[in-house]
């Protein structure tokens, strides 16, 4: 398995954040997106990082920032998404506060990368897409670097429809 083909670089991801005028990244760190976390923690112009104790707080802090006129993005892994679903339900589905999530497919076996995630033998990976469909949360898969353009679409959709939009990060990010 040539992971490099599917790995999005931290440089490309950080550029997408800046292009979308993200001013805060609110997070519980994700193994899949470690390279981006590292880049952000070293400092990316205009982006503050807020680390929270759990994913529920990630969602509520991001909601407060949005109401206050800021433009946050939240980062977490798939387990964290499942953990905070009731908060996502309250904040983005009921209270209709727009929010874009980058969610790493933590635990994905490398032989599944490049194939449909629903064929993964790991539960947390296999259920991500069916889960999001079931709970009416739009999502896009970031399977390779060219897919980072979907972040622009996600922000437009989140704001137009006042909902959450999830970007599923398929493979470990590249440290460049």
């Amino acid at each position: 398995m040539d992971i490099a083909r599917y790995s999005i670089s931290a440089t490309c991801a950080a550029a997408a954040l800046q292009r979308n005028r993200v001013d805060h990244v609110v997070t519980v760190p994700d193994w899949v997106q470690l390279a981006l976390h590292d880049r952000l923690n070293k400092g990316v112009d205009g982006i503050a990082v807020i680390s929270c104790s759990n994913e529920n707080q990630v969602v509520t802090v991001a909601a407060g920032l949005t109401i206050g006129g800021k433009r946050p993005l939240v980062m977490m892994q798939n387990q964290g998404l499942y953990n905070c679903f009731n908060t996502l339900r309250a904040i983005s589905l009921d209270a209709r506060i727009p929010m874009v999530f980058m969610v790493g497919q933590f635990g994905r076996e490398f032989e599944n990368i490049g194939r449909p995630a629903i064929q993964s033998r790991r539960t947390m990976v296999r259920i991500a897409e069916p889960f999001l469909r079931a709970v009416d949360v739009p999502f896009y898969c970031l399977d390779m670097e060219a897919d980072m353009a979907k972040m622009d679409v996600a922000f437009e959709q989140a704001e137009a429809e006042r909902t959450a939009v999830v970007l599923l990060v398929s493979a470990p990010m590249a440290w460049r």
Binding site: C52, V61, L65
Partner: protein, 239 residues
């Protein structure tokens, strides 16, 4: 102190601060602020007599008041209620405080809610929001005024834990008059400040034969309206 004192002091003294509330406080703010958003007429007196009197005046005020506007039916524009979402108030307040550093933000948390997201104390403390006053109504009960079920640890010392987490100042207040006296100084203090308000539970209603009323749709839709109203209100903010 009783819950009318706890919330009344905030409603009367918050000025143009942003207020984030949990469910019990939301119901009390709704009643004492009323359609005109003005809590000044509602007395804040201790004990059961004070509770009954405060809620009675609030009810009378609502009966003689003007018909509430659509916005007032939600809540005053400076208030958002983390309802129905237990545990969300501290995070919402933190996000608002970071987004609007020149405005004061008051969180009126609940004890059961804060226990659900106790880690939020560490999250808040780490961000050092100087403009945040985080209060918790500690009455030791859930479904207060309905069934008064005990929270898991009734004598939990929230103020101590907040201090250990790194809040700049924390204290516990049991007396309503002291709360009224301390509030302006606590609000003016550089935060994050934490205040544990020891509040007597509202008497329970449930008993054999009690029948549940359906919850109104508004309880499930108001947060969306409040978020939009607050977003519009804060967008006008030049600070």
């Amino acid at each position: 102190m009783n819950i009318v004192q706890a919330c009344g002091v905030v409603a009367k003294g918050k000025g143009n601060a942003i207020l984030v509330s949990t469910m019990l406080s939301m119901f009390i703010f709704d009643r004492i602020e009323g359609a005109d958003g003005n809590a000044s007429l509602v007395p804040t007196i201790g004990g059961m007599t004070g509770l009954v009197l405060g809620l009675g005046v609030a009810k009378a005020k609502s009966l003689v008041g003007i018909a509430p506007s659509a916005a007032a039916q939600v809540s005053a524009p400076g208030r958002i209620n983390s309802v129905p979402l237990m545990g969300g108030a501290a995070g919402l307040g933190l996000g608002l405080a970071l987004a609007k550093p020149k405005r004061k933000v008051i969180v009126m948390d609940g004890d059961a809610s804060l226990l659900m997201e106790l880690g939020s104390l560490a999250t808040v403390a780490a961000q050092k929001p100087t403009n945040l006053l985080h209060c918790v109504v500690h009455n030791g009960t859930q479904f207060t005024g309905l069934d008064n079920m005990e929270i898991p640890v009734a004598d939990f010392r929230f103020s101590k834990v907040a201090g250990e987490a790194g809040y700049k100042h924390s204290e516990r207040i049991s007396d309503g008059a002291q709360w009224a006296e301390r509030f302006p100084a606590l609000l003016a203090m550089e935060g994050p400040v934490f205040v544990e308000l020891m509040v007597e539970p509202v008497p329970r209603q449930t008993k054999d034969g009690f029948e549940h009323e359906e919850m109104p749709d508004r309880q499930f839709t108001r947060m969306a309206e409040e978020a939009l109203a607050m977003q519009a209100w804060l967008a006008l903010d030049q600070t």
